[in-house]
């Protein structure tokens, strides 16, 4: 039953993050007991790619979703043993491997009552019967030949399913669509660029900052025709607030990376949208970066919480930004309440809370044909979409971070449908001080970390805070770690066969036993940002990761394996 720590806290049904349904009945795993965790079972998926999908809990089943070509395993845990209940293997269009920018994995299904809603990399949204795994309907949501893929889980918002496309690297025109959950019938589609009508901007649109106003800004802030392939993917977290009737989503960076090919503000890329869940009409928009130079994409984690903020109870939206800032917004109005860096940042000097503008550093601007060195954070982003979680107990936000910087050299990019439209040479680098990764426990009110655990390698396996005061996270070198939620003290760790690039999951079996499960499997040497056959001697390999991860020994077996831990 415990949906508690689902990777994105993409809370379905009623409720907010704090009072998610199915809270663990009693906190059996505490800093005191965690040392007793023992491996009870493992399950191999047979897929060699990077497994970024956390195991999901649907009723009494544990769902394991492999990277493309996908297999969805529904497992049952019976007395500590795993049994495959059913499997679902959608037909795949293998051409999608060529247009998947960042690995072949994506988060697994969303649970809507007795249904599972599944996005596949090659652009299908599929509804399954949760009990049998039988497909109910299957609609195409993304066009692979155009470079579109699906990289996030669908969002269930009432009787609607919201799906967003990915593919900034291929010059797509990002869009988000709503389907009828029962039939898969399309309800509305809104684009991230283009005319106000296409974007869903109408009379109800009231951004907090004036700079986000402007008639047809999705066209006029682009060079002629640029918006047609301007990126702005909806590949990050989708979030639904049933009280407000809003769906929140970020928009990806503008395409191409080379800024000189897209003069202007590049609306509505690199921003956050609040949309009416019923109609898709935009309520507010906040552009994280106008004319984005450094990949300040809005596809980082989105979370919501209701808190006292400076003495006033507010409905907050928290965005862990790829620009390296934790943004705290009022999710009713779109006002930015706070934006503080959680990783080393020098690409910008901060966020002007009066205008909402990201203050760029003059010496880190990028332009065609010129290399800008030591820009932090890297375009690959300091956090993955599932890399942050809130704990209602401690009130802290736990962020799995990659502390990468980069050298970036924009180059001319030419648009050819279905081929990359990037236009930049990238070379990731170590930050000026410290390690490549860290687990950050972030104090929202103070706008600074409560504590930080440095890791040698980027931390991609998102955190799992448990009510008992323990936070689990996986590391790139294959450790599952349990640390104290308040002090960051390492309590327990276990070495697994492969690096962990997905968040662990906690669940309670029908018999009351509590388990922590983690799906290990980093894929190739450079993890989810690349395919298997990558040669890190090339500094620009895997969007520049080759430069920092060169020499990191590849896992003996990068393929996926589910590990199940329990207290004895």
């Amino acid at each position: 039953m415990a949906l508690w720590a689902a990777l994105f806290l993409a809370v379905g049904g009623a409720g907010r993050a704090e009072d998610a349904p199915g809270r663990a009945p009693a906190a059996a795993i505490t800093p005191e007991t965690v040392r007793g965790l023992r491996l009870v079972s493992t399950f191999r998926t047979g897929n060699p790619q990077a497994h970024v999908a956390s195991p999901q809990v649907a009723g009494d089943r544990l769902l394991v979703f492999t990277p493309f070509p996908h297999t969805l395993f529904a497992l049952k845990v019976e007395a500590g043993h795993l049994r495959v209940d059913w499997t679902f293997r959608p037909d795949g269009n293998r051409m999608v491997e060529g247009v998947a920018c960042c690995g072949l994995g994506l988060p697994g299904p969303a649970v809507a009552g007795d249904r599972l809603l599944l996005n596949t990399l090659d652009g299908h949204t599929i509804a399954l019967d949760a009990a049998t795994g039988r497909p109910l309907w299957d609609v195409p949501s993304a066009a692979v030949p155009r470079g579109e893929t699906l990289a996030s889980a669908p969002l269930v918002a009432g009787d609607r399913v919201i799906v967003g496309t990915a593919g900034d690297d291929f010059g797509i025109r990002g869009r988000v669509a709503a389907l009828e959950a029962g039939s898969g019938r399309p309800l509305w589609t809104r684009f991230s660029t283009g005319s106000d009508q296409d974007v869903g901007i109408g009379p109800g649109f009231a951004p907090f900052y004036d700079r986000d106003l402007g008639r047809d800004a999705g066209v006029t802030s682009w060079p002629p025709g640029g918006w047609e392939r301007g990126g702005g993917s909806v590949s990050g977290t989708l979030l639904h607030d049933p009280e407000l009737g809003l769906v929140f989503h970020g928009t990806g960076r503008p395409a191409p990376i080379n800024p000189d090919q897209r003069p202007g503000g590049n609306r509505w890329s690199s921003g956050l949208f609040a949309r009416d869940a019923a109609t898709g009409a935009a309520r507010w928009f906040y552009q994280l970066a106008s004319h984005d130079l450094h990949g300040v994409s809005g596809t980082g984690p989105l979370l919501m919480t209701d808190r006292d903020w400076k003495g006033v109870r507010r409905k907050l939206l928290i965005h862990v930004g790829l620009s390296g800032y934790v943004y705290v917004l009022d999710r009713v109005t779109g006002e930015v309440l706070s934006a503080e860096p959680f990783v080393p940042v020098n690409a910008s000097r901060g966020v002007d809370l009066a205008t909402g503008a990201l203050l760029r550093s003059d010496n880190k601007t990028t332009r065609i044909g010129t290399m800008t060195r030591d820009v932090c954070p890297s375009l690959t982003g300091p956090v993955t979409p599932g890399g942050a979680a809130l704990s209602p107990e401690t009130g802290l936000l736990y962020i799995a971070t990659s502390r990468l910087c980069m050298d970036i050299e924009p180059r001319p990019a030419t648009y050819m449908q279905g081929t990359p439209f990037t236009g930049a040479n990238l070379r990731a680098k170590r930050p000026p001080n410290g390690s490549l990764g860290a687990l950050v426990a972030w104090d929202l009110a103070a706008g600074k970390p409560a504590w930080t655990i440095q890791e040698d390698l980027p931390v991609l396996g998102g955190p799992l805070p448990l009510p008992g005061g323990v936070v689990f996270y996986g590391t790139y070198d294959g450790y599952l770690k349990a640390v104290g939620a308040r002090d960051g003290r390492v309590l327990w760790q276990e070495k697994l066969a492969s690096g962990i690039v997905a968040a662990p999951t906690f669940f309670t079996a029908p018999d009351g036993a509590q388990y922590v499960s983690v799906l290990a499997g980093q894929g190739g040497a450079l993890g989810p940002s690349a395919g298997l056959e990558v040669d890190a001697r090339d500094a620009t390999a895997a969007r520049g990761l080759g430069n920092v991860l060169r020499g990191v020994p590849p896992p003996e077996d990068g393929g996926g394996a589910l590990y199940l831990f329990a207290l004895p």
Binding site: T220, P224, I368
Partner: protein, 338 residues
């Protein structure tokens, strides 16, 4: 000022043609070029006079003793007073040289100053040099009014134009002698050039820095238009490509977006969005194709598409195999892209 006009009118006959489309430093059509032509004239006259004086003195020196009877061969016989007088004359000549050289330095310095001073809000045009063509982007405060064109710069008469020069590959140099001196386009550097066209007309320009095998065929034209015509033209350029008016042109559009053309060229309003070659959205409205190599006609378009390496060997446009019908259709379509 009268001197200026006099000098210019003396030099003008040298500017053969002097007609529209000329490419001559002696046929100035803007204040920059005029000031440079004046400077050329001033230097030519001063230097010419100096040269003539030297030649006259040499001539006199040679001839003054010719008739003299050959005296005894006493080359070392020397008259100290005479030597001293000669020394004084040489010194005077050197001082005169110093004065002339200083004067020339000063006027050239002043000319430099007058060139950099421009009045009025300039039209900013980005010019990017490629092997072997020019990409021209008209900027605007509103990015959706950016217009990308190639191998032709249209400018409004009377308004200063500021070119922002950059190079995509090797060093090129922009030179439109009738309007301004040249300025290099250097990879990794930003250069600027400001000029004003005073009269409507067509001024040819050419790459002046050796840039590879087709350096000779890297020309462009500057078309100066009255401001209202320029504005109308710019509005026209903002529109998407013309829709085909007949079946042949429609077939041509299919060829252009289905064959290799689309990989390199942009035709706005069609799927073709490549940026490796010139933007073809309004290619037929330009004077020339292939960077000043051929006049824009349907025939020359067909010849160029059929065999680019025959017309301009070594350029980066490949010979795409097309059937005769496809070639006809695509050239008809291109010719319709006004």
């Amino acid at each position: 000022m009268r001197l200026r006009h006099l000098i210019v009118s003396v030099l003008l006959p040298l500017a053969a043609g002097g007609c529209a489309g000329s490419q001559s430093a002696l046929d100035p059509q803007g204040p920059n070029a005029a000031s440079l032509a004046w400077l050329i004239g001033a230097f030519t006259i001063v230097c010419g006079i100096v040269w003539l004086l030297v030649m006259i003195v040499v001539g006199v020196a040679l001839l003054r003793r010719r008739g003299a009877a050959e005296p005894a061969d006493t080359p070392l016989a020397e008259d100290p007073g005479r030597e001293r007088r000669k020394g004084a004359v040489v010194l005077a000549a050197v001082l005169a040289t110093v004065v002339i050289v200083t004067g020339l330095t000063v006027i050239s310095y002043l000319a430099t100053h007058s060139l950099t001073a421009a009045s009025g809000e300039p039209l900013v045009v980005r010019l990017r040099g490629y092997q072997w063509w020019w990409e021209v982007t008209y900027t605007s405060p509103s990015p959706d009014r950016f217009v990308t064109s190639a191998n032709e710069i249209r400018v409004p008469v009377g308004r200063p134009v500021r070119l922002e020069l950059s190079a995509a590959d090797v060093i090129h140099s922009f030179w439109v002698p009738s309007l301004a001196g040249k300025q290099d386009l250097i990879p990794g550097r930003d250069n600027q050039l400001t000029f004003t066209a005073e009269r409507p007309g067509i001024y040819r320009a050419q790459c002046a820095e050796f840039c590879g095998v087709q350096h000779a065929r890297m020309a462009l034209v500057v078309v100066a238009l009255p401001p209202d015509e320029f504005a109308a033209w710019l509005d026209g350029q903002l529109r998407d490509a013309a829709t085909p008016a007949n079946e042949e042109e429609a077939a041509g559009r299919e060829v252009a977006s289905g064959k290799a053309c689309a990989a390199c060229h942009t035709i706005r309003g069609t799927p073709a969005a490549g940026t490796l070659g010139p933007d073809l959205t309004h290619v037929a409205s330009r004077q020339t194709i292939a960077a000043g190599t051929l006049p824009t006609t349907r025939g020359s378009l067909a010849a160029w598409i059929a065999d680019p390496q025959g017309v301009k060997p070594g350029n980066k446009m490949p010979m795409v195999p097309l059937s005769a019908d496809e070639l006809r259709a695509v050239s008809a379509y291109m010719a319709s892209l006004k």
